[in-house]
Symmetry: C2
Subunit: 553 residues, 2 copies
């Protein structure tokens, strides 16, 4: 061995280790194809104790055959894994810790499993690296969390590993690239393996990034998370939607935006073709969108409000509709949608005028969080989109409209709008002295409170009472006054007074519906372009195929 | 035609238009392969007046055969194009405007062409959409700047369009995806077309994203932009590097970082194996890096300081060295580097503790810009990395170390360090009352001054006088006092006094070299682990192959 090749092998330990592991399964694998019924053995051979392992648990798409199989390995062989899971949403994600296979967890979001994460943390069964937003977690895969093994899911693959991820590409490219280019091992579960590469609708990820493909025992699990039944939209939400359109979208000329997934923003989508049309705003506001294919957006699309939608992921039932509207949605040459959470989060951060979402709890300074006691839900994507990106340099009319001085050294601002009804359904106030997240953070030993969106990033608070134009606040005290003025009869709201409200309205810091030319009596469900899921199907020309649970008409 | 398919064709106008154009060149193309000598005809057939056209002008790699060819089309046939070019660096990029082929420009950076852009703008030959950072520009491709045509460059392609971009993948994936999935047309120039797909080293972009491949008349142009000759590092830069290591890296436990491309940060790289070693800091600081493969990083890599480097792009001459160090760099299965500017900018924004760079001009409040009169250089990537990302939620020791209160609602901060010698080589002060960018912005009719990094994002200013710990500032006035205290005999510095300096040092707001245990006499070039490019080649075991212009030893 020459001194140069000796020196090189010293610098290729990851590659050597990868080849060593691949060799262990060469007799089991048929080229790149792993036998479904040997997957537990294979994982045991390919994964070593202490490995950093990415498991594709996305917001929607789950590499669940692989995670279920990983939970079956022998903990005396594979243990102390450091799992990296964008969205911890499967029971087996936590079983891995209970069985001693995994020890440490880095994640961005946990839905149904948030309670168990919290318990395991208390019981010392699990240790947390950090809780991230989605995009931070991807970013760290290229810095200090480079994975040894990545387990992902796709619809189809050919025998060379070329992968069709289907409409729900989501996080997959960002997860795979980090391992494929640092001598990690990438295993893809797919619903179907095709013999002829021409039978792949398209290639979303090249085969040379993938090490192994395995056909899963059943199709990967996927959940419809972005479907809101219009029947559940309340008149108060219609009122708030009207205020949003007049007092924010129209006023600041919002052209590009991200909507949250709550009923508040669904209401906005549903009154664009009625109330928005009446105001003559079509083509003037909200032309470009970054969000999943919300069924409630169908009427606005059909009436020509929407020029483009780029998606984080897909939505069950929307596949045929999206395919039939390629002028609006991003689709491949095969006709099916292409989503990409990393690029869409980037677009939602840097390329849109506004983020608008609902929150459950906000303090008097505008800090909000969906975290509640006993649940470590994580951050997901909202903090990334719901902040003012100081790295932005290009200007748009909405961004410039928030300037407060003539100084050439002042920056424009992204609109970050929080919609919140002053009381929750159960009668608890939503606007409170201190958000639960502060105490949860303390209890869980987190270095800081898990705040979803910080008050200093919020530009507008919209309640059923009115809109507080926080970006105009001259001080923290001033910001608090504005929030109190629209906080109704919550404890925070009771600190305000009729005189203060009158002054804030006069000076343009707060607007009530009447200041915006909105009659509360107009705010009825009759403004909704679709009043039920069946109406959405009609609007879609029968292309939208709602999942069973929404077929209650 | 059924009503559903009628309705569908109404929603597939982009696709229909694409197919109409593709049909126009079907007799010229051999499958996906375009004949080199017919490229001007082909571009004339595929591009229509008013199109949004992305031209891959990257920081380094240039789709120059395609841009030169585009400049030769008949302006009576193809005109009024809206060009989107990340880095405007080729003469023909501007010729396109002079010839009337293009009218509007959106870009992120302009090097050698910045003077001409400025002139063309004044003369009304060119209109500017906006000036962006790289990552904002990519993001807008998915929102309101979706391209009709994308012209890119790779090393090799097969006849199915599968693309090997080589070590300099850079912007290509982000540019291609935006067109490939919204019925745009993607044309790739390559240095070589291989008949057998197996002759591709690897696939960086799948063929199903590409419409046409053309072999260029000569290999694409690529420039070494990140090579700094150690011979030009001055003793003052060594002193500042020592201060950075002791007063910032060590103090805040900086684990992951991005270095700018100036000589100041090259000096830091070069004294890690000497000064850093002496301080016993190896393995304790700067283990993970996001930057191009700087040759001046070689000694630190060889002595074991560097665990990982993820790269925006490549660097000419570093190919073999990078290939031989896969434990450190991101490389493909073929052994060559994979870079990715979008992912690296993401990592540089969200996943690292610190950005540290040099600036040419800074005002007393810490605002800085490299923009000077008569040149519209744009922003490039610095503002994205050189700000505190308010969307970040995960904590690291360095990020938490900048907390100023015990409030659970305070956020940690990214370190944004500006290194600036108080006077430029020509004797002009670098720290000034007002940066030129303010006037340039006004003259060019920009809505705001083109500030590269804003003072409120800067956490540390490091001059040859000392370090100002700006993150501790209690007010804008306080921040200005700290900067003045390290601004030497510049007009800004003369506003300070010995008393003020003493007070700031006593309270830990400012540190001089002696406060950090640094003797100015130690700051000599003898601390540089490599004193010349020849030394870097030696360190690399002969693997680094510097471009001719750096072979002056």
């Amino acid at each position: 061995m020459s001194s140069q090749s000796q020196s090189q092998s010293r610098w290729a330990t990851r590659r050597a280790e990868k080849h060593r592991r691949l060799a262990r399964v060469s007799s089991i694998a048929d080229g790149m194809i792993l036998p479904t019924d040997r997957i537990v053995d294979v994982l045991q051979s390919l994964i070593a104790p202490g490995d950093r392992v990415v498991v594709e648990g996305n917001n929607q798409k789950q590499a669940d055959f692989l995670s279920r199989s990983l939970a079956k390995v022998d903990p005396s062989v594979v243990h102390d894994l450091h799992l990296i899971i964008p969205s911890v949403s499967r029971a087996e994600h936590l079983d891995l810790f209970e069985r001693g296979i995994a020890k440490k967890l880095d994640f961005a979001y946990a839905g149904a499993q948030s309670l168990r994460i919290s318990q395991f943390l208390q019981d010392g069964i699990l240790e947390i690296g950090a809780i991230h937003t989605y995009i931070e977690l991807y970013a760290r895969l290229y810095v200090d969390l480079t994975p040894n093994v990545v387990l992902i899911a796709g619809f189809k693959a050919d025998r060379d590993g070329n992968l069709y991820t289907g409409p729900s590409t989501e996080d997959t490219p960002a997860l795979v690239e980090a391992a494929a280019f640092r001598d990690g091992i990438v295993i893809a579960q797919v619903n179907e393996i095709v013999d002829d590469p021409k039978d792949l609708p398209r290639v979303d990820i090249p085969g040379s990034w993938i090490d192994f493909v395995v056909q899963s025992d059943k199709p990967f699990f996927i959940e419809p998370l972005f479907t809101r039944d219009p029947r559940l939209v309340t008149p108060i939400q219609v009122l708030m939607a009207m205020m949003a359109i007049r007092g924010i979208y129209e006023r600041h000329q919002v052209q590009s935006l991200n909507h949250g997934i709550g009923f508040n923003t669904a209401a906005i989508e549903l009154i664009l073709p009625t109330y928005g049309e009446k105001l003559g705003l079509k083509g003037k506001i909200c032309r470009h969108w970054t969000l999943n294919p919300h069924p409630t957006l169908i009427p606005a699309i059909e009436t020509g409000w929407v020029e483009s939608v780029h998606c984080f992921g897909g939505e069950l039932g929307m596949e045929a509709y999206v395919s039939a509207r390629p002028d609006v949605f991003f689709t491949g040459r095969d006709g099916s949608m292409r989503s990409n959470r990393a690029m869409c989060q980037l677009a939602g951060q840097y390329a849109v005028d506004m983020f608008i979402g609902s929150t459950l709890q906000m303090d008097g300074a505008g800090n909000s969080s969906t975290v509640t006691h006993g649940r470590l839900t994580g951050f997901g994507g909202a903090p990334n989109m719901g902040h003012d990106p100081h790295g932005r340099r290009h200007a748009t009319p909405a961004w410039l409209d928030l300037l407060q001085t003539d100084s050439p050294l002042e920056r424009g601002r992204k609109l970050v709008v929080q919609m919140v009804e002053t009381f929750q359904a159960g009668g608890q106030p939503s606007i409170v002295e201190s958000i639960d997240a502060v105490e949860v953070g303390r209890e869980s030993g987190m270095p800081l409170a898990p705040v979803m969106i910080y008050g200093d990033d919020v530009t507008h608070v919209l309640t059923e009472e009115g809109i507080a134009y926080l970006y105009k606040a001259r001080s923290l005290e001033h910001r608090k006054e504005m929030i109190a003025a629209v906080a109704g009869v919550t404890p925070v709201g009771l600190a305000s007074s009729a005189d203060k409200l009158a002054a804030l309205r006069r000076d343009g810091f707060v607007a009530l519906p009447e200041d915006l030319g909105i009659h509360r009596s107009e705010a009825t469900r009759s403004l909704l372009a679709a009043k039920s899921v069946a109406d959405l199907v009609d609007w879609s020309d029968g292309l939208y195929d709602p999942p069973a649970r929404f077929r209650s008409w």
